[in-house]
């Protein structure tokens, strides 16, 4: 159970990571760390040092340091890969790990996350496959999002009735329902099904929602604006007005709403009212498209009110603005072509880390970035920029590695020289310390002790003084024997016997303790010998293995150098391609802008000519 809990916890961490939310991760259960190096990777991961955690996990796995937490580590690894956009590898790991023994909710969350990532990257079929592997229901909000994703697939296949039915299963009040319904309405309108499309939009537009409710309120405004534009296109300005009145004034869409409101009044012939909206819009940011359109709409309304002179003035001003804008756009396009948009966008990016959640938060305040703000805010552009940034980071890292390899080569060389210098000294050391002779002496001593024990040779372990005294008694005994032929020595013999008795008694009494001491000393000798032998073995191993290790390290360094140089060449090409792609997308966006500005300029010129003609006709009529 504990294992399941641990896996469940780490899976939640992984999913939170993949979805870019580190906040939710903090609510999960604490993970049972049983491998130190798994814990070390977690330590980096929890501090958002995801790249370091990734390297730690891979290295620890390669070094066989992940045993009990290996599955947890693999899940974490897959999550980190996912956050770096390496979803192919992440999927491979997930698929290996997720089996019938994995708790259902963990399995479901993994498939759900993979489905989202795959769809974001445009891999529709594999996203649908991942969705189809979810069993039962997900937690509420994820379940709603899951239905939205399924509905999106149905819309793409043109199964609109099924989509509408499916969307009904989303919880009341969930923004996913409104996103789904809005996309369905758009699809219906694009297919020319006006009645059904408008019905869907009207349902969204009529939703009673708190103006501060965020997403739903924004979708409601979008629906009302789309409805108004649809009605305007069908020459139904009154209906358009009704829906435009529902759009919040402070909303991001208000520029478009003001423009459309002006047109609704204009179509009804209410030019003065139209002017109120358009003139308000005209005061806004001149880089916005709706504002630029208003620059043409205002003189159009003035001309309709026969204010030809004012109309001409406004047309002239509009032409100046358009010309200035066109010039600026040309300069910007040239500047992007001659330089690097991603580099200029990343100019203030001082962070050296490769955080999986990175996104450009502060756009450098340059004329180009102001025009491209909408493009830059798009998820795909951010993804592309993040890839560029990561490749740039990896390139720097590889270059650093190349420098480090040089240092290691020097280090190896120094170690090799030092090793060569020490060989003769080590060999002479081996010679001077004859361990075999030492061992022989030790064995003799041990055998001696054994004999002493077997024979109860109490004086053999007695102190030297006692042994001397015993020898003295032996000598005296012999002398007394010689003297006994010449004189009476009984008295001396008796005294000698007493002394020997005392000596023997003492030696007997202390025999066990002395033997134990002698054995202890032998034990110490054994320990010292073993240490010596281990050290010598270690040195011998070193002597034997070191040259091989030098060769191995040398080979590894050469191979790493080759691999790094190969990848650096690849990275340069890919960086360039990615840079060109981002530049191209930006230029395309600016070209589009240039295209409609040219149309506006042409329209302004034609309108000036028309207004002159009309003014002349009116003058001659008077």
């Amino acid at each position: 159970m504990r294992r399941l809990l641990a896996h469940f916890s780490i899976a939640l961490v992984v999913l939170c990571l993949a979805s870019g939310s580190s906040h939710a991760a903090s609510k999960t259960e604490k993970i049972q760390v049983k491998d130190l190096y798994y814990g070390k990777a977690l330590y980096d991961y929890y501090q958002n040092h995801h790249y370091d955690a990734l390297i730690q996990l891979l290295a620890a796995d390669q070094q066989g340091r992940l045993k009990q937490n290996r599955k947890d580590a693999q899940l974490l690894l897959a999550g980190v890969y996912l956050s770096y956009g390496v979803h192919r590898k992440a999927t491979e790991i997930f698929e290996q790990l997720i089996d019938e023994n994995t708790p259902l909710d963990v399995r479901n969350r993994v498939w759900f996350q993979l489905a989202k990532v795959r769809r974001q990257r445009g891999h529709i079929e594999s996203a649908e496959q991942a969705l189809s592997r979810i069993e039962g229901e997900l937690p509420a909000e994820s379940q709603n999002e899951r239905i939205f994703l399924q509905a999106t697939s149905l819309i793409e296949r043109g199964q609109y009735d099924e989509t509408a039915e499916l969307l009904k299963t989303i919880d009341n009040g969930s923004a996913w329902y409104y996103y789904g319904a809005y996309n369905l309405a758009l699809a219906l309108l694009r297919k020319g099904n006006f009645t059904e499309g408008v019905l869907q939009l009207e349902q969204i537009g009529a939703t009673e929602v708190d103006v501060n409710s965020g997403e739903i309120s924004a979708i409601k405004d979008q629906a009302n604006l789309t409805l108004a534009l649809t009605y305007l296109q069908r020459q139904q300005p009154s209906s358009a007005k009704q829906h435009l009145e529902q759009v919040q004034v402070n909303d991001l869409l208000s520029d478009k709403a003001l423009l459309a409101m002006g047109w609704a009044h204009s179509v009804l012939g209410q030019y003065r009212q139209a002017l109120v909206y358009w003139m308000e819009l005209q005061q806004r940011d001149s880089q916005e498209r709706a504002t630029q359109e208003a620059l043409l709409a205002v003189p159009y309304a003035l001309a309709q009110l026969r204010a030809n002179k004012q109309a001409l003035q406004h047309y002239q001003s509009a032409m100046v603005v358009f010309n200035d804008e066109l010039q600026r756009l040309s300069l910007m396009i040239d500047s992007i072509r001659g330089g690097s948009l991603p580099e200029s966008l990343l100019a203030n990016d001082t962070s050296r880390s490769m955080d999986g959640f990175w996104q450009l938060e502060e756009i450098p305040d340059t004329s180009t970035s102001r025009y491209l703000i909408n493009l830059i805010a798009q998820r795909d552009f951010q993804e592309g920029l993040r890839n560029y940034r990561e490749l740039r980071f990896l390139k720097q890292e590889l270059k650093q590695r190349l420098d480090d390899l040089g240092i290691y080569e020097t280090l190896l060389e120094t170690q090799g020289d030092s090793y060569k210098r020490r060989i003769p000294w080590i060999k002479s050391l081996f010679k001077s310390h004859d361990l075999k002779a030492l061992k022989k002496r030790r064995d003799t001593y041990a055998a001696q002790l054994q004999r002493i024990k077997e024979r109860d040779d109490v004086f053999a372990v007695a102190p030297r003084a006692e042994q001397k005294m015993l020898a003295t008694t032996e000598r005296l005994k012999k002398q007394l024997q010689r003297l006994s032929k010449q004189m009476k020595v009984d008295n001396y013999n008796e005294r000698l016997r007493m002394v020997r008795g005392i000596l023997l008694w003492r030696a007997n009494a202390d025999f066990k303790a002395r033997l134990w001491q002698a054995n202890k000393a032998l034990g110490n000798v054994d320990q010292a010998y073993a240490e010596n032998q281990a050290r010598r073995q270690s040195l011998e191993n070193g002597l034997r293995n070191r040259p091989q290790a030098f060769i191995r390290y040398d080979t590894e360094i050469s191979s790493l150098r080759q691999r790094i140089e190969g990848q650096l060449a690849r990275i340069n090409t890919t960086l360039q391609t990615q840079e060109e792609l981002l530049n191209e997308v930006a230029i395309e966006s600016l070209e589009k802008r240039r295209g409609y500005l040219r149309d506006f300029l042409l329209q302004a010129k034609i309108s000036v000519a028309q207004t002159y003609d009309r003014a002349k006709q009116e003058q001659s009529a008077q």
């Binding site: 795909d380 590695r401 990275i571 890919t574 309108s607």
Partner: protein
């Protein structure tokens, strides 16, 4: 008049298209994707470079801290309720080898189960002594300073030692343990 009507249509259509494209981005992502081959190339590049870094990391460790002399000291916190770790000092054979002051983020990472590698170095085979002094805030925010030590035997294999702070629910006090890993 004909031109003006055309102009209205053109403007309305322009706005209409702008509104539609802006709206669809809100729900489902349909904007430009990099080509599949470029994306696959970026993925495989990242994978390759990550592998290079892994191999480099291993080589670096083997070169600088060979297993036969390697000693690594880790710090972990079991719960972190009764003790907040502020700093740790480490002595190896009476020589100061590490002093570390924890940031709030590092402390949190430890409390959530992360394990810090406090020290990595080289030691010759034989007996050694390690002494760690841990400073922090104990129960009721009291300053807490506690030492712990271990005598260990270094062999030809790498030696891993873990300093662990454990909350003792029974004594309502933090406990500090030090242990060797196989």
């Amino acid at each position: 008049m004909k031109l003006n009507t055309l102009f209205i249509s053109a403007v309305v259509i322009v706005v209409w298209l702008a509104a539609l494209s802006g709206a669809s981005a809100a729900g489902a992502n349909t904007t430009q994707q990099p080509s599949e081959s470029l994306e696959a190339d970026i993925q495989s590049l990242k994978e390759e470079i990550v592998k290079i870094n892994r191999d480099f990391f291993i080589l670096e460790e083997e070169l600088l801290f060979p297993a036969n002399t390697q000693v690594v000291v880790f710090v972990s916190v079991d719960s972190g309720v009764l003790f907040t770790l502020d700093s740790v000092s480490l002595k190896l054979n009476d020589k100061n080898v590490a002093n570390y002051l924890y940031t709030a983020r590092e402390g949190k990472a430890l409390e959530r189960g992360g394990v810090q590698q406090l020290y990595i170095g080289n030691l010759r085979n034989g007996q050694h002594e390690i002494v760690a002094i841990l400073n922090g805030k104990g129960p009721q925010g009291r300053s807490f300073r506690r030492g712990t030590s271990l005598i260990f035997e270094k062999s030809d294999d790498a030696k891993y030692i873990e300093l662990k702070v454990v909350d003792s629910a029974e004594r309502q006090q933090p406990e500090f343990t030090i242990r060797e890993w196989e």
